[in-house]
């Protein structure tokens, strides 16, 4: 028997379609009908659902309830900074004076929007110590592409055509090598040393006339502040290269250190991580690019400039060009602006302080129960290995899935790649101590379960809308859309 009537979510939209139902009523045509074009230009079929408005609302509400989210679950997904997303940010981004403005309307008709963007450029420049800021890139990886194209343009402008190699630590997020390749570079991997820092000897080997630059994530994806970072920047600069900063982990450093002062030349920020804009189930994000004033002429177009209180869109002198259709993910930028203004100078420091405190508190409580391959003060996240549990029969994946049964989203698994059975946990500053204590207890309980009831852990999750899914079947026989003939 099917429970829940039409509110259940099993049937897809086209399966619940009933000929004749409508989901929206549109106005009648209020002008005389005009001649239609040649019939050959028109389509005669369009397979879209025929469902009423209540069904649409019930179906999508039902689907939403199948998700874990920050609002419903603790979501300690390492490197993703799943902090609270303030509701006022959403509310303000939807104001008609923001959501209802056209990107091509004259600048005099959009001064408020341009002023907000101009001030946000200033805030992000101050926070990173990299004063030249462009907001048009639409996600972290998109910012990486922009920043790496700027590095390329800088070398070419100096007649330095041989700098074709970019060095990237083995702990880096996969977008770094992918972005460097899209910007036309050859990628070499840099080893990490035993403390999780960039191996300086390995760096010196590649630092030469072919090196365009390095891409560094700070703190690293091991959740560690690289104590060699100043020297890393010096070595790269002495060889004529530039230093790119992946700002995915900036939540740890807000107000504590400026990337520009350490020697970074260009970096991106993930506003959907550090600056609280919602991930939306995989976007929209925003990946502003912050650079030294030397690199300012290469920023992607447009940037916002100010002249006697008038704000306008401008194209930097030697711009790498446009990277997006208009001026950036404005709705996301409004949210980040709101967040920075709300927290202010004192709040910005409170973010990094509490994020790092919470992570270290959790790491300390789990030390000895879960293996810590790099046992140092961590930044905003701690990377454990499930090697000790694996010896008793449960992998990192199985522990992560078991956490879902405890009502916690899983940590990031198997990343960074240089840690066996990695479990990367980022509590963020916006969780209570009670929640963090309960999460710690859950991981301790699961460790015990691995010993006494391995199968319970290895068959997890038991309480989610579906059990472990057959990913091999999905890849072997890809079923990527609903088709009528597949319905029976």
């Amino acid at each position: 028997m099917q429970q829940g009537g039409n509110r259940q979510t099993e049937k897809l939209l086209l399966e619940r379609s009933v000929p004749g139902r409508v989901g929206t009523v549109l106005p009648d045509l209020d002008v005389p009908a005009q001649p239609l074009p040649d019939k050959a230009l028109l389509r005669n079929d369009l397979l879209l659902p025929e469902v009423s408005e209540p069904e649409v609302v019930q179906y999508f509400t039902g689907l939403s309830q199948l998700n874990f989210s920050i609002d419903t679950h603790f979501y300690p997904l390492g490197s993703c900074t799943m902090k609270y997303n303030p509701k006022v940010n959403d509310e303000l981004a939807f104001l008609p004076g923001f959501a209802g403005i056209h990107p091509m309307q004259p600048a005099e008709q959009s001064q408020g929007a341009l002023e907000l963007l101009y001030k946000l450029q200033g805030f992000l420049g101050e926070i990173t110590g990299l004063p030249a800021v462009g907001l048009s890139t639409l996600a972290g990886a998109h910012g990486e592409l922009g920043g790496m194209l700027m590095i390329r343009a800088h070398h070419l402008a100096n007649g330095d055509n041989g700098r074709t190699t970019v060095a990237i630590p083995d702990s880096a997020h996969g977008t770094n090598p992918a972005s460097a390749a899209m910007a036309g570079f050859d990628v070499v991997e840099l080893a990490s040393d035993k403390d999780g820092n960039v191996d300086l000897e390995a760096l010196r080997e590649v630092a030469g006339p072919n090196l365009a630059g390095v891409m560094i994530t700070l703190p690293s994806t091991l959740g560690l502040f690289d104590t060699n970072i100043v020297e890393v920047c010096q070595i790269v600069h002495e060889s004529g290269g530039l230093v790119y900063g992946d700002g995915a982990n900036m939540n740890a450093l807000l107000g504590r250190v400026k990337l520009g002062r350490l020697g970074f030349d260009v970096a991106h920020l993930n506003l959907h991580k550090t600056f609280s804009t919602p991930h939306g189930g995989g976007g929209p994000g925003a990946g502003p690019v912050c650079a030294t004033s030397q690199l300012a002429p290469y920023l992607a177009a447009p940037v916002i400039t100010e002249n006697n209180g008038n704000y306008q869109l401008s194209i930097p002198e030697k711009s790498i060009g446009k990277l997006s259709g208009f001026h950036g993910n404005f709705g996301v930028l409004v949210r980040a602006y709101t967040y920075i203004r709300t927290l202010g100078d004192a709040g910005i420091l409170s973010i990094s302080g509490n994020a790092v405190l919470n992570a270290n508190y959790m790491m300390k409580a789990l030390r000895g129960i879960y293996h810590l391959p790099y046992d140092r003060t961590c930044m905003h996240e701690a990377v454990f290995s499930a090697d000790l549990q694996k010896e008793r029969g449960s992998s990192g994946l199985e522990i992560a899935k078991r956490l879902l049964d405890y009502g916690f989203h899983a940590p990031t698994m198997y990343f960074p790649l240089i840690v066996h059975e990695a479990l990367m946990i980022e509590p963020t500053e916006s969780e209570t101590k009670e929640t963090i204590d309960m999460f710690i207890q859950a991981l301790i309980d699961i460790d015990h379960e691995v010993t006494v009831n391995t199968a319970l852990v290895n068959d997890a999750p038991h309480t989610t809308p579906v059990a472990r899914l057959d990913e091999a079947k999905a890849a072997r026989q890809p079923d990527l859309r609903w088709q009528p003939e597949a319905a029976d």
Binding site: S64, L138, D470, W482
Partner: protein, 446 residues
């Protein structure tokens, strides 16, 4: 307790951050240290705690006032008749979309890597892929790209991978912004981008793809069948950036044999929002699925045989393939893929056709009224959908200033391409009164 200024110890109790000073002290004591600053000791002293020149915190009441003031300095599309399109379109958005997409379960979830905890998002993506395929007449669609411009640029890169060729024929009727993004994406890839007039061009056996826009930047419907056949005859792919609203009535690019179809999903229930966030649409033929960028949701079963959804064919993607990935894209625009899916569900088969027909008839009515005015003509002689170029008796910039005095947002000045050309867009949002006001204002110029 929670005033917006720090207390005498420097502690600031933000409403977004729960830890009190007592709790901080308890946690620090568990760590055997006495200050948060000690946790940052790995940062060399001379770089730690730099001066930070940011404004002081604001309460919610104050921030609402500040942003309300900024927003009120912008003219919104709803405040008066608006005829600007050119890649961002003013369409009706059903009221169900905002409350559904801002449900915490959708808007505060991450990318659905942990499938058992993300079935809602994954099933939405599968629905999105299905509806985009049907809209464009294609076999496979991905979970979305950043926007229409980047989607088209990534389609060009994909065409080069598929054909192993490095020459691109880009029609001069493609949006200048989209063309610019293609140039930026290709600059470091040794791909030669050649701009061509689609009526008189010759492709050779080295061209990876022919890139067209449908309807084109000037609103016209070009003879796609001949152009696509021409591309195929030389072994090139046909890449077509397509307005999804036009698909409510016009033949699909898939019908004509297009190989990759992209577009911007903004017209499907997404506000103009000064240019973003939108969502890029991307569809292709089944045979090219492994060359596609971005995520795909696939239907499968769980270990009990129950239907479920997972991200699949991930070996194309950056987190597995790193520098050899089909693209660097990671975070895309999932929330707006959701908005488009809800829009297509609410509009449905008949609603989308109705929207397209309203746009078509109103645009053609407006065009007919404008060319009755002395000094105005339609310089382009091709069928169009909702946008058209009017040749004006004087510079469009002057006309637009006059229109704005009457609170009418005029069309885009395209006089660089067509002398005194103004690109107007008329949608279902424009009433007969709006059109009459526009025509009357234009009649002041001769």
């Amino acid at each position: 307790m929670s005033a917006i200024s720090p207390d005498t110890t420097g502690h600031f109790q933000s409403h977004y951050i729960p830890n009190t000073t007592d709790e901080q002290a308890e946690m620090l004591s568990a760590l055997g240290i006495d200050s948060i600053d000690q946790l940052f000791a790995d940062i060399p002293d001379e770089y730690r705690n730099p001066a930070l020149d940011l404004p002081a915190p604001l309460s919610e009441l104050e921030i609402q006032r500040e942003l309300g003031g900024m927003a009120s300095k912008n003219r919104s599309l709803g405040s008066g008749p608006s005829f600007l399109g050119a890649g961002s379109y003013n369409h009706f958005i059903p009221s169900i979309i905002k409350p559904l997409i801002t449900r915490g379960e959708f808007i505060t979830a991450y990318t659905p890597y942990q499938a058992e905890a993300s079935q809602g998002t994954l099933q939405v993506i599968y629905e999105f892929q299905t509806l985009i395929c049907n809209l464009y007449g294609m076999e496979v669609a991905n979970a979305g790209m950043y926007d229409g411009a980047t989607s088209l640029a990534e389609a060009v890169l994909m065409a080069c991978r598929v054909t192993k060729r490095e020459k691109v024929a880009l029609a001069d009727t493609v949006s200048p912004a989209y063309s610019a993004v293609i140039h930026t994406y290709c600059q470091s890839q040794d791909i030669a981008v050649e701009t061509i007039g689609p009526s008189n061009f010759v492709l050779d056996g080295e061209t990876a793809c022919l890139v067209l826009q449908y309807p084109n930047y000037f609103g016209n419907i070009e003879g796609l069948q001949g152009l696509i056949n021409g591309a195929h005859a030389e072994g090139a792919l046909a890449v077509i950036s397509t307005d999804p609203t036009a698909m409510g009535m016009f033949q699909t690019p898939g019908h004509y044999g297009a190989d990759i179809v992209t577009g911007d999903g903004q017209p499907l229930g997404i506000p103009s929002s000064f240019g973003g966030p939108y969502v890029g649409l991307f569809a292709t033929k089944q045979e090219y699925v492994r060359q596609m960028p971005s995520r795909l949701s696939g239907r499968t079963v769980d270990k009990n045989g129950k239907t479920g959804y997972v991200l699949t064919l991930q070996t194309r993607e950056q987190h597995i393939r790193r520098e050899r990935a089909t693209s660097n894209i990671c975070t895309n625009e999932a929330l707006y893929a959701l908005a488009s899916t809800i829009y297509l569900a609410a509009m449905g088969k008949h609603g989308l056709r109705r929207v397209a027909e309203l746009c078509y008839h109103k645009a053609h009515y407006a065009a007919a009224k404008i060319v009755e005015l002395p000094g105005y003509s339609l310089p382009l002689d091709s069928p169009f959908f909702q946008e058209f170029v009017v040749q004006c008796p004087t510079a469009p910039v002057n006309i637009n200033k006059r229109l704005m005095e009457q609170d009418i947002l005029g069309g885009l000045d395209v006089s660089q391409k067509i002398p005194n050309g103004m690109l107007l867009c008329v949608t279902e949002m424009n009433s007969q009164d709006d059109i009459t006001a526009l025509v009357s204002a234009l009649s002041e110029f001769e």
